[in-house]
C-alpha cells in the first residue's frame, strides 16, 4: 500500500522531523543520530504480523524482530487475547508466594526442555536471567570464573555484560578480566586449554552467537564443549534467547545440536513482545540453592504472572503440530531463494550462515552489511547488521511468516543486495547471470 518511496530521508513529514529532534533531546542523541546517518530513519508506529509501519506510513517487512522477540509475529492475536483475559483476574503477583501462573509455566518449561531441567527461575529480562544463571553456576560449583567466546554477547547487566565483548563492557568500566575469560568460537583446543585447571564455574554459550553475526557452530563443536564441561567440572549455560522457540527447527537450538545443558536461558520471544519476562531453566544440581535458601535471590517483576500466561500461550502455539513443517518451509524457501541471489552477486554476497530461520548473510566487503541494511530499508525491509561483525547482516524471518510474504521478501532482498553491491563494488563490473 505504501510502496512509493514516501518517508525517505528527504521526505520526512514535519511531525517526524520534530519527533526525531525530541528523541535526540530526551532519549538517546547519539543512537538517534546514528540511524539518521545510516539513512534508516525508522520510527515505528503500527505493527502487525511481520509488518511494521513507520510513523510516516511506510510499510516494512520485519526480519530483525528485535532479536526474535517477535518470532511469532507482532501483536499475535492469541497473545493479545490471553493478556486481556489475564488482566481480568491477575496482575504481576507477589514474588514471595507460590503462584499459579509461575508454577504452571515452570511445569511446562520442564516438560518442553526435558533432560532433567526441573526448575525455572524468573526475571524481567534476558540480561538479568543471564546474571541469575551465572549466580546459580557459581553457587552450585563454588567457583567464580566464567568462560565465554570472543565477541560473545549475553546482555548489559552486571555479570552478563562481563561475559561479552569489550565493546559494551569497557565503556562502563564493567569488564572483569579476573573472573570472565574469552576463547575463540569453534575452537575446542582453546576451550580445553582454558578449562583444564578445573577452576571455571561455567561455560556460557549462545547456541549460535547472534550479535557476532550468527557464525554457525561446526558440527561437533557444541557437543565437544559440553564434554569438556563435564570433564573439567564446569556447568554449561545455554543462552537460547535468540535461538530458542523453534527458530532452528527445534524448540531449543541446543536440541538441534544434540546437547543437554545444565542451565538454559530464554527471553525475548518467550513473551512474543507482549509482556516482559525471561526464564532460567536449570537442572536440580545447577539450581541447588532453591532447596537450600529460596530467599537468596528474588525479583518483584521477575515472573510477573501476566507474563507467565503470555509465555504459556507462546509455548502452546509453538508446540502445535503444524509449526515444524511451517518453519521448515520458510527456512527451505529462504535457503533456496538466497542461494539464487548469491549466484547473481557472488563477488559481494558470499555466504549464508543458516540454521532454520536463524540466518546471517555474509558480504565480502568492510562493513558490507550496512549498505545492504540501508538499501533493504529503502526497499521496505528492516534487517540489522551485526554489531560485532558488520560484514554480516542478521536475517531473521519469523517462524510463522506467511508464504506470500516470504516470496515478496526475497524479491525485495534481491533488488537491495544488487544496489548495495553496485554501491560497494562499483557498477562497472557486470552482474553475473545466474548459472543456467
Amino acid at each position: 500500500m505504501m510502496d512509493a518511496p514516501k518517508g525517505t530521508k528527504n521526505q520526512q513529514s514535519p511531525a517526524k522531523q520534530e519527533f526525531i529532534e525530541k528523541s535526540k533531546a530526551f532519549w538517546n542523541p547519539n543512537k538517534t543520530q546514528f540511524w539518521q546517518d545510516q539513512n534508516v530513519d525508522l520510527v515505528i508506529d503500527r505493527r502487525e504480523g511481520y509488518l511494521l509501519y513507520d510513523m510516516d506510513g511506510r510499510r516494512l517487512i520485519d526480519v530483525h524482530l528485535n532479536g526474535g522477540t517477535y518470532n511469532i509475529g507482532h501483536r499475535h492475536p492469541e497473545l493479545i487475547e490471553v493478556l486481556h483475559r489475564g488482566t481480568t483476574r491477575f496482575d504481576m503477583g507477589n514474588h514471595h508466594f507460590p503462584a499459579l501462573g509461575r508454577t504452571a509455566l515452570a511445569e511446562e518449561l520442564a516438560k518442553v526442555c526435558g533432560g532433567g531441567m526441573q526448575y525455572t527461575m524468573y526475571t524481567a529480562g534476558g540480561a538479568e536471567a543471564i546474571d541469575l544463571a551465572i549466580k546459580c553456576a557459581r553457587n552450585a560449583t563454588q567457583k567464580r570464573k566464567i568462560l565465554s567466546i570472543v565477541n560473545a554477547y549475553h546482555g548489559h547487566s552486571g555479570l552478563s555484560v562481563a561475559t561479552g565483548a569489550d565493546r559494551f563492557s569497557k565503556t562502563f568500566l564493567s569488564d572483569r578480566p579476573d573472573e570472565f575469560f574469552h576463547v575463540p568460537f569453534n575452537d575446542l583446543n582453546a576451550m580445553e586449554d582454558a578449562l583444564k585447571a578445573k577452576d571455571f564455574a561455567a561455560v556460557i554459550m549462545e547456541t549460535i552467537p547472534a550479535t557476532y553475526g550468527f557464525p554457525m557452530p561446526v558440527p561437533g563443536y557444541l557437543t565437544g564443549v559440553k564434554k569438556l564441561c563435564e570433564r573439567y567440572d564446569a556447568l554449561y549455560i545455554a543462552d537460547e534467547v535468540q535461538t530458542g522457540l523453534m527458530r532452528t527447527g527445534e524448540m531449543w537450538g541446543y536440541q538441534r545440536y544434540g546437547i543437554e545443558p545444565d542451565l538454559m536461558v530464554t527471553g525475548k520471544g518467550i513473551s512474543g513482545g507482549m509482556y516482559p519476562i525471561a526464564c532460567v531453566v536449570a537442572t536440580e544440581r545447577a539450581a541447588v540453592w532453591l532447596k537450600q535458601d529460596g530467599f537468596a535471590h528474588m525479583s518483584t517483576m521477575g515472573g510477573a504472572e501476566l507474563g507467565c500466561l503470555v509465555a504459556l500461550k507462546t509455548l502452546e502455539i509453538l508446540q502445535r503440530p503444524q509449526i515444524r513443517p511451517i518453519v521448515n518451509y520458510i527456512s527451505e524457501t529462504m535457503h533456496s531463494g538466497l542461494t539464487e541471489i548469491m549466484k547473481l552477486y557472488s563477488d559481494f554476497f558470499v555466504g549464508i550462515r543458516q540454521c532454520g530461520v536463524v540466518m546471517g548473510l555474509e558480504f565480502d566487503y568492510p562493513e558490507g552489511a550496512k549498505p545492504v541494511m540501508k538499501h533493504l530499508y529503502e526497499h521496505g525491509v528492516w534487517a540489522i547488521f551485526s554489531t560485532l561483525d558488520p560484514r554480516v547482516l542478521q536475517f531473521k524471518p519469523g517462524v510463522l511468516m506467511p508464504n506470500a510474504l516470504c516470496e515478496e521478501l526475497l524479491e525485495r532482498v534481491e533488488r537491495a543486495i544488487g544496489l548495495a553491491r553496485d554501491e560497494c563494488m562499483g557498477s562497472k563490473s557486470r552482474r553475473r547471470k545466474a548459472a543456467e
Partner: protein, 520 residues
Amino acid sequence: MNGIVAELLAGEKRQTGQADMMLEAAGWAASSFALFDRARVDAIVHAAAEAGYAVAGKLAEAAVKETGFGVPAHKKIKNEITTRGLYELYRNEDFCSKRIIPDKKIVELPRPAGVVFALTPSTNPVCTIFFKILLALMTRNAIVISPHPKAQVCSAEAARVMAAAAEKAGAPMGVIQVIDEPSLPLIEHVMKSPRINVILATGGTPMVRSAYSSGNPAIGVGPGNAPVLVDASADLDQAAKRIVESKSFDNSILCTNESVVVAEESIADRLLSAFGRNGAYVAKPEEVATLRELLFGTGSFNIEVLGKSAAEIGQKAGIRVPANAKIILAEIDRIGIDEPLSKEKLCPVLGFVRAPHAEGAITMSRALIRLSGAGHSAAIHSKNPATILKFSAAVKALRVAVNAPCSQGAAGFATHLAPTFTIGTGFFGRSSVGENIEPKHLINWTRIAYNSDPSEAFGDFSGIDPRFPDPVLGRESPMTLGRLQEGAEMVPAAAGDEVAILREEIRRIVLDELRQVLRK
C-alpha cells in the same frame, strides 16, 4: 496445570489460531505441490489410494459403529471404490501437464486451486474423505478436512492414513490435514478465511448455503429426493430388482437413492407384485400411517431411522417386516407438502404413487423435485426414448439414471457418469457445478493463446517445461556454515551453500580433531 490458569488460556482465539496454522501449512504444501510433475503425483496418489484400500473394511466397520448408519459390507465396497477404484479410473488421465492444441494455437497449463476446504458428512464419512483427498492429490491441491462431528473419529483416521502414505511417498508436509474438533464457529472462520481457495461442501443445506455466502469460491451439493418413474414399457421384474438393490444399498444412505416410485397405473399392481418378489415389503395402509409418524412425526426427518435397516425400522414402527425384506414400500396417494413421505428419506422406506399415464407420472415426478432435491437425481425405467426424453427435460434433475439402480447409477457406479461422492446440483440446486464432481473441478487452466492471424506462427512447446527451483517439502530446516566465519576453513570453498556436503564432511573432520584433542 491448575484450572484457573487453564481457563485463562482457553480463549476463543485458540481454535481459530490452531485452524489458521493448519491453513498456513496447507498453503505452503499447496504452493510446493503445484510444482510437482505427473510421475511424482501419480506415485503419491497411488500410495494414498492403496493405503486407504488396505483399511477399507476396518474403517467401514468403524464408521457404522461410530455413526450407527449403514451397512459395513456396503461401506467397505464404497471405500474400495473410492480408493483403488478411483485411482484406476483416473490413472491414465493427466491433470498435471500442459496440453498443446496446435490447430487453435493454444497451450493449456493446469493450475491447481491451492487449498481445498472439504466438509464431509456423517452418512458416507470415510468414502467421501477418501474421494475428496484423492481428487485433491490428483490435481496437486492441498486439502483440509472438517468431518461431521458425528463421524469425527473414523473420519480423522481415514484422513491420517492417507496423509501418512502420501507424505511417505514424497508429498509436501501438510498436504492432507484434518480438523480434530470441528465446531460451527470454527467452520465459519475457515470458510471465510483468505487462506483457502475453494470449499468442497457435502452436508446439510445450512452448511452448503453458508459455504456459498462465505465469500470464497464454493462447490456445494444439495439434498436429493429422486423420483423413479416406471412406465408401461419397462421390464417390471428388472425394474423392481434394481430399485430394491439401490434402495437397500448401505440402507439408502446415498443421497442419490430413490425416494418415490411413480408408476403408470396400467402396470402398478404388477409392479407391486414384482417388488414383493424382489425383497420389498409392501406396507398395509395403516402401517403407512405408522411409518409416516415414525419418519416425519416431528416435522423433519427422524435421524433415528437414518441409515437403519428395513428390519430395524419395522421394529421401531411396530410393523412385522419379514426378515428377508430389504426395503419397505409405502404407497401414498399424492406428492406434495401435505404428504411427508414424498420428501427425501435416507432409509430403506420407498414411497409408491400411481399416475394415470406417463404424462401424469412426469408431472408428479416434477412435483417431487419441486418439494426438495432440485438439481439432484432422478431415475426412469422405460424402453421408450420419447418418454425418457420428456421426463428428463421436464424434471429439474441434472442426472437421470435409466434402467439402473439410482443410488449407484446417478453417482456414476452403474452408469458411465463420473463416479463421485459429491453430486453437483447446479443452478437448479443453487450450486456452482451441475455435474458429478471429479478431479477436473479442482483445477483451472491458464490458456496461452497466440494471435489467430495466420501470419503469426505458433511456437514449438513440445518437450519443454517451465523451469522452477525444486519444490520445498517442509521436511527439514537447512543448516549451513558461512564462508567468513571461524571454522569456515574446514569447509571446501565451493560447498559454502550446500547443506549436505557440509554436514558429513565437517562432522568427520571435527570428530577426528576432537579425538586428537582428547587424546592429549
